[in-house]
Every structure is written in C-alpha cells, then in structure tokens.
Amino acid sequence: MIYLKDIKKSFNQQPVLKGINLKIGKGEVVTILGPSGSGKTTLLRCLNFLEKPEEGIVQVGDIQVKSKKATKREILSLRRQSAMVFQHYNLFAHKTVLENVMEGLIVTKKYKKAEAKRESELLLEKVGLGDKHDHFPSQLSGDQQQRVGIARALALNPEVILFDEPTSALDPELVGEVLSVIKAIAQEGITMVIVTHEMSFAKEISDRVLFMDGGVIVEEGSPLEIFNAPKEDRTRQFLNRISRDFSVSFLEERAN
C-alpha cells in the first residue's frame, strides 16, 4: 500500500530525514508523533512529493517512484494516489466551499460538472457543512475551513489521506469538531497517515503509532505499547514532557 525505502532528505545540508523505511497496509491508520524538527511533517510531505526526497523509493498504491530519477509524470501520478489535509487548510481562496470540493473531481478525475456537484454536496453534508456551499473560505471559522479541507481530500477517493497537523492552527474549543470528523472517516476503513500533537486523539484513533526524533523513526507500535510501555528513552522523555495535561485527561476518560 505505502512503502518507503531509505528516504533521505536534507535542507541546506542539514539532514532532516536520515533513511526512513516504512510499510503501511491498506486501511491502516498511522499517526506520527515527535518533537518539532524531528522530520515528521517532512516525511509526510515526501509521500506526495511536496518535498522531493534526495534518495530512496516512495510507493503509494501501485505507483512507485525512485527519488533520484523521478519524472514529472511519475510525480503527478504519485500525487493522484493521495490527498492531503493541511495545517493551514490551504483552501482555494477564490473558490466557494462547493467549488473547492469539486475542483479536484473536475480537473483530475474528469467528472462532469453536475456529477461533481452531486458528489461534493454529499461530502459537505457528511462533514456537517451542508448549508455553507456558497460561502468563501474567508467567511468560515477555522474548524469549518478544515472540514472543507477534509471534504476536498475525501472527494478524490484517494488510496491514502495525509493529515499534516490538522488541528494545530485551530482555537482549542474548535479542535473537537475536526477530530470527530476525522474519527468518523477512520472508521470507514480509509488509509490515513496523521501527523499530530493531539495525544489522546492519536491514542484513540491509531492502529499504529510512530515516534520520530532526529530524522529517524525511533520507535513504532500499537498505541498501547507506545503510550503505556515505551521501550526507548527518547520516547519516554517526549511523552513525559507532554503528558502533564494528557495524563489528567486520560485518567478522566478512564474514570468516566
């Protein structure tokens, strides 16, 4: 499904990814955790070549690309295997909510306009924005924009959806709305790779958790293994540092 071999990437001679190997199966929900600068977002962006790895092989679905001799055509077909939900939403600013969702269907999936419209309306209904078709992104709140972003990604019916810190730019009280939409999609069996700082969300939603630090995957395992019995010191340190609020909420959840 997704297969990464020896992915290396550096910015200004500063290595950010130091040889990542990874396999993700169909329908798996994988979250990537790690301190900032650990390379987790870069890794995610290598999956659709928004960052071009210097070395290694990227495969998504049936499309395999060797980084060193990737052609434009290969990159395009690789990108068409996935869809991405961005930290800052990146909705097309000059298009309405409905047009944002339709755009990919019309341009890359070659849908007829009416067909694309019907499909998009269904998806907007699903993310709870059935009444916002004709709004422009700037007229929506952050969580509404991000839900449009999710609908836009879903519309493409991709092999995998990549989430790049989907709630990091949101006001705290709006995070829940977006997370519950993502949870609902996860239950439909769509393959997802999620970079996030929401620990309890990661714990709840993931089939597998990767912990990255210093450009390598330090540890991976089930949420239970990573959160309750991390093997590596670095993982433990990271979880301890952020666990203050997390452990409280986790205990609360248990108590309920």
Binding site: N48, F49, L50, K72, L76, R79, R80, S82, A83, M84, F86, H88, N90, L91, F92, A93, H94, K95, T96, E103, G104, V107, T108, K132, H135, F136, P137, S138, Q139, L140, S141, D143, Q144, R152, A153, L156, L162, L174
Partner: protein, 235 residues
C-alpha cells in the same frame, strides 16, 4: 498669443472634441487588451525564469521603463516599417492608429508584466501545494488557482496603469492620429483659442478618468467579495 479668453467657447468645443473620444478609447481598449496578453506572458517568463526569454523580458521592461513614451512612439512609427522592410513587408502606408496601438500595447505590457510578477509571487505557496495535492500539474495549478488570485491582487495597480495609459494616449496626435488631442490641435489652429481648447480637453479627460475610477472600484469590490470580513456565526 491667442485671442481674448472666452469661456462660452468651452461649451462649443466640448461636443466637437468629445466626438473623437471614441478614437481615444479605441486606442486604449486595444492597447490594454494586447498589453494584458503581453504582460501575463512576460510575467510568466519572469516568474518561472525561462532561460533566454527571461533575460529578453528583463531587457524589454527596462527599456520601456527607461525611455519616454513619446520617443517609443517615434521609434515604432519610423523603426517598425524600416525593420519589416528587411523581410520585404511594406507597412509604411499603414494607418498611424495601428502604430499608436502597438506602442501603447508594448508600453502597457511592460508595466503590466511587473505588476503581475509581483502579484503572482504574492499568492501564498500553500495554494500551489493544495493544487498539487489534489493532483493538478504545473499549468493547471497556475492557470486555475494562482493566476485568478493574482489578477485580484494586481487589479488596483492595473487600474492605475490603465488610467495613466488613457492620459498618455493624448500623445498619439504627434504621429498624426486624429484623436481628441489631435482634433484639439486643429481647433487651435482654426480658432486661436488655445486655452479654451485645453480646458475643454481637461474637462473631458478628467470626467472620463472619474468614470473609470468609479467602474474600477465597483469591479474591485466584486472580485474581492470572497475577501469579505463578515465571518458567519458558527453552528
């Protein structure tokens, strides 16, 4: 000098002169449309640093910006037929109007190119990334996502430039085009009431500019409607 100042003549002159506004607007429309094509094409060559052509565009823009439009007008009027004669095309009998349109198109093109270049770069790169993420190729992402947004950003400056170009077009009479200004010159020759003629021309140009500003403002509001700040209530 001319005869004694007679304000009532202005009322007579304005209708005579306004009859030739059509020629002025014709020059403006044709040169703005052509200039838009040249400008967007040149901006694309600059933004994507297309080798050789990029350098050529830099030279072109620098030349247009560095020389007076009056001289450009004469260079095109005398130079273009001379150059085309080398390849056996004789355009020396072509209507002077076309030379004016070519000159202003080239001049507008250079100014528009710089405006568009800045506007294209001002569009957030996240828009391009989003376009790539839904599977668009370079040209789809540029023409469907980036360019429409950059036109909105460029518009106020383009509008300014168009108004400037309207006023510059008053030089067309120097190569013998009978526009408003040209008709004004003949009126002066016939009546010797120079001040009244120039005042009439000032009134007409000013009125047209005010009208243009109004139209541009309405259009700007329209293309900026998706930037409106009325954030709808959540839920």
């Amino acid at each position: 000098m001319g005869k004694a100042f007679d304000p009532s003549l202005i009322v007579d002159f304005i209708p005579t002169l306004i009859y030739y506004l059509g020629v002025t607007l014709q020059i403006l429309t044709a040169s703005v449309l052509l200039g838009m094509v040249i400008g967007i094409a040149a901006a694309i060559l600059r933004v994507f640093r297309i080798p050789v052509l990029n350098q050529f565009v830099i030279l072109y823009i620098s030349f247009i910006r560095g020389t007076p439009i009056l001289i450009q007008l004469f260079l095109v009027f005398y130079g273009l037929p001379a150059i085309l004669l080398f390849i056996n095309i004789d355009i020396s009998r072509m209507d002077a109007l076309y030379f004016v349109i070519i000159t202003y198109a080239l001049s507008n093109g250079a100014h528009f190119a710089e405006i568009f270049r800045g506007a294209i770069k001002a569009v957030d790169y996240g828009q391009t990334e989003a376009a790539y993420s839904v599977g668009m190729n370079n040209s789809q992402s540029f023409f469907r996502i980036v360019l429409p947004q950059s036109i909105r950003i460029a518009f106020p400056n383009i509008a300014n430039s168009i108004i400037g170009s309207l006023k510059d077009s008053s030089l067309a009479f120097t190569i013998g085009v009978m526009d408003m200004m040209g008709r004004g010159e003949t009126l002066i020759a016939a009546t010797a009431h120079a001040l009244e003629v120039y005042l009439s021309l000032a009134v007409i140009y000013y009125a047209v500019v005010l009208l243009f500003e109004k139209i541009f403002r309405l259009y700007e509001n329209r293309i900026n409607r998706h930037q409106s700040v009325d954030v709808s209530v959540t839920g």
